[in-house]
Each structure stands twice: as structure tokens, then as C-alpha cells.
Amino acid sequence: MTVFTRRTLLQGGTAAAAACTLSGPALLDWAKAWAQAAPWKPEKGAKLSMLRWKYFVQSEDDAFVKLIDAFTKATGVKVEISRESYEDVQPKASVAANTGTGPDLFWGLYSLPHLFPQKCIDVTDVANYLGKKYGGWVESAVKYGTSGNKWICIPVCYSGALMNYRIEASKKAGFSKFPDKTDAFLEYAKAMKANNTPGGFALGHASGDGNSWVYWCLWAHGGNAVDKNDKVIINSPETAKALEYAKTLYGYMIPGTASWNDASNNKAFLAGDIYWTNNGISIYVAAKKDPSKKQIAEDMDHAYWPVGPVGHPTELHLMYPVLAMTYTKYPQACKALMAFMLEADNFNPWIESAQGYLTHCLNAYDKNPVWTADPKTTPFRDVAKRTLTAGGLGSVGEKAATAIADFVILDMFANYCTGREDVKGAIAVAERQLKRIYR
């Protein structure tokens, strides 16, 4: 944590003031006024149920419950919330869409609405209303949110994963700034290893950290799983280049990353065993909270992923869209709730409560104090703007989600980096699996 100065206290004060607007009568008055003016009038006797992904931080869920309470008080619509681990929302939503019964609203992962676009109610009016009011949607949100020219869900937020690194060790290795190009990053990893301050990326079946770095690496070198017509094009010289790059990088990592899961790099970083890795903001938040790790929190920072030969950012962050099912009896109430969630008076305190874990998809929220109160969280402000969509050039639907869930690309990298397959073999295994997924 930084030293307390008048300035940080003031900033803290602003944040607290913003948070205060969430509770108390002021919010209720505002919510009531909003309900009066909003274009969506909930049906009489409407009751909603929502299945959402399980929170990373308790404060986020608390803020969300408050927000929902305010909605209930203002509109009279009761909302029942249930929570599932984010990977489990998709199967439940698929079953609900198939059987036509279940929660009215689902708040899950990026590709969710594209598994059954015809079962999601058209929320174009809500998306346009919010987009117009709050500075427009970021590009990736439009791709995730629309099917044809219809919006089938409202993109709520992203959870970003960026580079985490130790400042002192990087300086010692000759890097006062974290490298922003892949070539420089390779030099960086090499120098860090030579100084006995190595880093590492997960090469085990880590759904979050593992997938995000291999997709970054593949895309950064111009490789792609599929083209824009979903034709499999993984077998390319660019993919081979990406694999070579990863293998060299793997050589500079701490040993053992082939067995890492999503929690391993957090543990190793907090224990001072690794000095760079990819992660959400959780390492930093954990270090700040634990007095014995204060020194790590002060000595670490976040950076964007280095840009590769393709010349533009090739990051992959997780998006969380909310959708309403066509079987709901109360579509207007659903729309009202979606709009209510993203109104500034609700959204600002909520995104603040998430402490940087979550990033908005509406441009106006760049101004939220959470991104400037602590400069170390600032890079996370931009993850929605920098991310590509699941599937890369291809569609964002089920197939892309399957390829990620089945670790096709991750296994291709792991197969080559650990020496189990040569370049051709590793690509061939992935190509065969992708062809089946994208047939």
C-alpha cells in the first residue's frame, strides 16, 4: 500500500462518498425516480430469478445485493439471485434454454448467449439506451453482445488478466519499464532468469491463466485457430513461430509450470519464488491485505501484455454478459433490471467494490476513481478495449468456447514446450481436434 498522504486520503474519501450513494435514502429516491422515468415498465406482479457467476470478492457481491434491493424497492419486483461457479453457469443455462424453464436471467461467461441466440430476448433497445448515455460500447463488447444486428445480451464487465511483475528485480535485470514488445519480453525473461529471479506462465490445465497466455502468444505471432468463416487455419508458419517463441520463453521460466493450475502462480508470486507472471488483480489485492506481504504489494506492478509481430494487442480477457430467456413471463422487468444495473449511480459503486477485478465495457466508466486512486490498478481499466474475442477471427459462439474449455491450444503449446511432440506433431493434434469442433 502506498504511504497515506492528504491526496490519497482525499481520493479514498471520494471513493467512500461514491460508495455512500449506494446505500441510504438517497439511492432509494434516485431508484424510484429512475423507475418512474425508465422506458421499461415491469409487468404487474413481476418476479425475477437470476443465476449469476460466483463472486471473486465478497464486497462485490454485497454491493450487487444492495443494488438489487434498491431495484426491488423502487419497482416492486422481487429478484431471487443464485450463484454458481462461473464455469457451471453455461451447462445450467443450456439446459434451461433447451427445456424452457429456469431462471429468467443468466449472467455467465462470454459465449453464453451465442449458444442459443434465438432463446435470448432482443435487448437492442437497452443496449442502445446505455450506449448512447455512457459514451458507447467498446468494440469487443459489441461483438460479444450482438447476433446479426440484434443485441442478445448486455455485456456487463470483463475480468482482466495482465502481466504482474516485481519492480526491483526487473530494474536489476536492466528493465526500468516492463517490456511492451514480445522480443523485448523474451530478453526480459532471459535476464530475469539469469539473475535468479525467474517468472512463469501456467502450462497445466489452468482454465484462466493457462488459456490467456497461450492465446496471447498464438495471436501475437499472427497464428489463428480459425479464419473469419470458422475455417480451421491453425496449421500455419505463424503458429509454428508462436510455438518456437513459447518454447524459448518456457526455457526461461521457473521449472514446474507444466503442472501449474490457476492458483499456482498466485502462490509462487506471493511466496517470492517468481517475479513475473500473468494474472488478474488478485495477487496484488491479496498482497495488500496481508501485512506480511506488504513489501511484495509495494514492489509489484501491472503491465499490458507485450505486443507481438502483428503490431496490435492480442489479449484475451473474460467477459460477463447478462441475458434474459425468451421463456420469461416478465421481459420488461428483465430489461429494466439490466438497464438499472448499468446506470452510473449503480454501476460506479459496484465496479469500485470489485477493487479492479472487474472492468466496465462502457467508455464513460473510464472516469471511475477506482482506476486512478491506485495507479497500480490503472492498466486494468483498459482490458475491455484491448481484448480480442474468444475464437479470434472466428465466431464467438459455442465452438470457440469448446476449443478453450477443451484446452486445445493450451495442450498444443504444452505438447511442444515440454518436448512431447515436435512442432508438426503438436499442430497436427490441435488441428484434428479443432476440425472436429468447427465442422
Binding site: 464455469e87 453455461q90 443450456s94 433447451n98 502450462l203 497445466g204 514446474g256 503442472s259 468456447a401 469448446t402
Partner: protein, 320 residues
């Protein structure tokens, strides 16, 4: 019942009563057994046969999670036949099952023989032996995951402090290390089951047989070979069948410790099936992988089933 008895004479008095087929079935002694078996039968069909049948049916469809599929014949199996990852999981599963089962049997038998001797604190030692079996699998798997952690392993740490190694051992990151590590965890967990069950079997062996053998001047090895072993055979057959089945279908240990990694080196058929069916949503293909486990499991069951039919196995005598 009372009604029937009261009414019965009236019926016979008024008109000759024709016994319907249903009434005959109800009262027939030969059918009585069937009626008593019916509840159990319904239960078995509903909760065992139906899911099994459904699983096999799903393996012939392209069903996805949350939506029914169309019949595609043996397409899933064809794909798996050429899938190197699938064959790797078959290899892993066979290796895992055979190595772990043999070692579990050896250690289990040894422990059982030891515990059958007169020992001080016998009851407590027997209870202690059971501990690995009592601890929920997921918890022990998490403990092993920490023990084998590439950075924080207590084993690596101790060896380093003793100056026996210079760098941490990559237990779960190297394919072969990872295989032996998960096999070790499985053995640790499975030994108590084998040991305690064999111990129960040992205690059914009549002491008079041993006494007679001792009087005849037998060696300890001869007593084991010609008394203990033959009398224990039926128990061994049952225990090893169960042990092989449990090991072959193991899921939790692998899933918690490695999720099938590194590079699928520890993926068993069960974990691979789960990954394809539930995580990736390819129910049909996942079902095909689990169906492919059936022949192996049937083999294991048949060996013990036919074994138990044989008198030689049952009583340690010759068949002829």
C-alpha cells in the same frame, strides 16, 4: 383380508367363482418370488440399467450438453480410435490400475498378516491403518497436491536442506514423475481397504489348522502357502476385483492433483471423459469414452466371477 374371508362363502353360495388369471398370479407361490423381487428389480433398472443404457445410447449420438443429439452410429468411436490423446489415456489408465493394484495388494497383504499377529495396542494400530481410507479423497488429494508442489513441496525442501538435491523435484510437471506421484497417492489411499478386508478374511481361518501344522513341524512359509493362502483366495478375489474397479474408475485424485496434466500424462479415461463431456460439452464423445471403459471393467469382473465359481479358488482344492 377379513373382508375377503367374510365375503368368500357368499360368493360360492351365489355363483361358481371363476378365478381370473390375475388372481392366480397373485396367489401362485411360484410367482411370489417375482413379486418380492420386483421392488429391487425396479430400483436396479431405474438407477443402474437405465443410466448405463442411456450412456451407451448417448455414445452413438452427437448430443451436446443441454440438447439432444442425432444418431451418428460409431462416429464417436471412429474419432477416438484415431485420437492419440485417447490412447494415451488408455495407456495411463492401464498403467495406473495395474501398478497401483499390485502394490496395494502386496502392502495390504503384508499389513494384514502383520496385524493378525499378537501385537501390543492391536486395536489402536488397526484403527490407525484405516485413516487414509477415512479421510475424504478430495482432502487427501489436496494434501498430496501440496506435497508434490513444484515450488513448495516439503519433500523437495527436506531433501534440499539435507543437501541431497540442488533444485526442487518437478513432481507433477514431468510426465513420468507425475504418473508415479499420482500412483503413489492412490496406493496410499487404497492400502487400508485391502489390508482391513484381508485381515477380516484372515480371522476366519481356524487356529486349529495352524496348531495342527505346527505340530507337524511346518515352517511359517509353509503355513502361509498351504493354509492361509488357499483359505484366503476367495477374499483376495473379491478384494482385488473391487480394488481394480475403484482404481480403474478413479477420478478425484487425478482431478484435484493434476487435472490430467502435464500434457495429458495423467489423464485417466474417467477424467478425460469428464473433460470432453462436461467441460467441453461433447456429451456423445464423453459417453463413448466412458463406454470404452466397460470392456476393461467387464474383464476384471469376469475374472473374479469365474474364479469364485471354481472350487479350487473357493476351497483351495483341486478341481478334478
Amino acid at each position: 383380508m377379513a373382508d375377503i374371508i367374510l365375503k368368500a362363502p357368499c360368493n360360492t353360495a351365489s355363483a361358481p367363482h371363476r378365478v381370473t388369471a390375475w388372481e392366480r398370479l397373485k396367489a401362485d407361490r411360484n410367482w411370489l418370488g417375482f413379486w418380492f423381487m420386483l421392488p429391487a428389480g425396479v430400483f436396479l433398472i431405474l438407477f443402474l440399467a437405465y443410466p448405463l443404457g442411456l450412456g451407451i445410447w448417448l455414445s452413438f449420438t452427437d448430443a451436446r450438453l443441454g440438447r439432444p443429439g442425432d444418431f451418428v452410429g460409431i462416429e464417436n468411436y471412429q474419432f477416438l480410435w484415431d485420437d492419440s490423446t485417447f490412447w494415451l489415456t488408455v495407456f495411463n489408465t492401464l498403467l495406473y490400475t495395474s501398478v497401483a493394484s499390485v502394490i496395494k495388494f502386496a502392502i495390504g497383504l503384508y499389513l494384514a498378516l502383520l496385524l493378525n499377529e499378537r501385537l501390543p495396542f492391536k486395536a489402536i494400530i488397526r484403527a490407525v491403518v484405516l485413516i487414509p481410507f477415512i479421510v475424504p479423497t478430495v482432502l487427501s488429494a489436496i494434501a498430496f497436491w501440496w506435497l508434490f508442489d513444484p515450488q513448495f513441496s516439503i519433500i523437495s525442501w527436506s531433501l534440499r536442506k539435507l543437501h541431497l538435491i540442488s533444485a526442487n523435484i518437478d513432481f507433477l510437471g514431468d510426465p513420468w514423475n507425475a504418473r508415479w506421484s499420482v500412483i503413489f497417492a492412490n496406493i496410499w489411499r487404497g492400502v487400508p481397504f485391502v489390508a482391513i478386508t484381508l485381515l477380516a478374511g484372515l480371522q476366519t481361518v481356524s487356529p486349529s489348522l495352524y496348531e495342527a501344522a505346527i505340530i507337524d513341524g511346518s515352517t511359517p512359509w509353509q503355513r502361509f502357502r498351504y493354509i492361509t493362502y488357499p483359505l484366503l483366495t476367495p477374499i483376495i478375489a473379491v478384494v482385488m476385483t473391487f480394488s481394480v474397479l475403484f482404481t480403474f474408475t478413479d477420478f478425484q485424485l487425478i482431478w484435484v492433483m493434476t487435472r490430467g496434466g502435464p500434457v495429458n500424462a495423467t489423464h485417466l479415461m474417467a477424467t478425460f471423459s469428464y473433460q470432453r463431456a462436461i467441460m467441453s460439452g461433447y456429451l456423445g464423445e464423453g459417453a463413448a469414452i466412458s463406454t470404452a471403459m466397460i470392456p476393461f471393467l467387464l474383464c476384471a469382473i469376469l475374472v473374479s466371477w469365474f474364479g469364485l465359481q471354481r472350487r479350487k479358488w473357493q476351497q483351495g482344492e483341486s478341481d478334478d
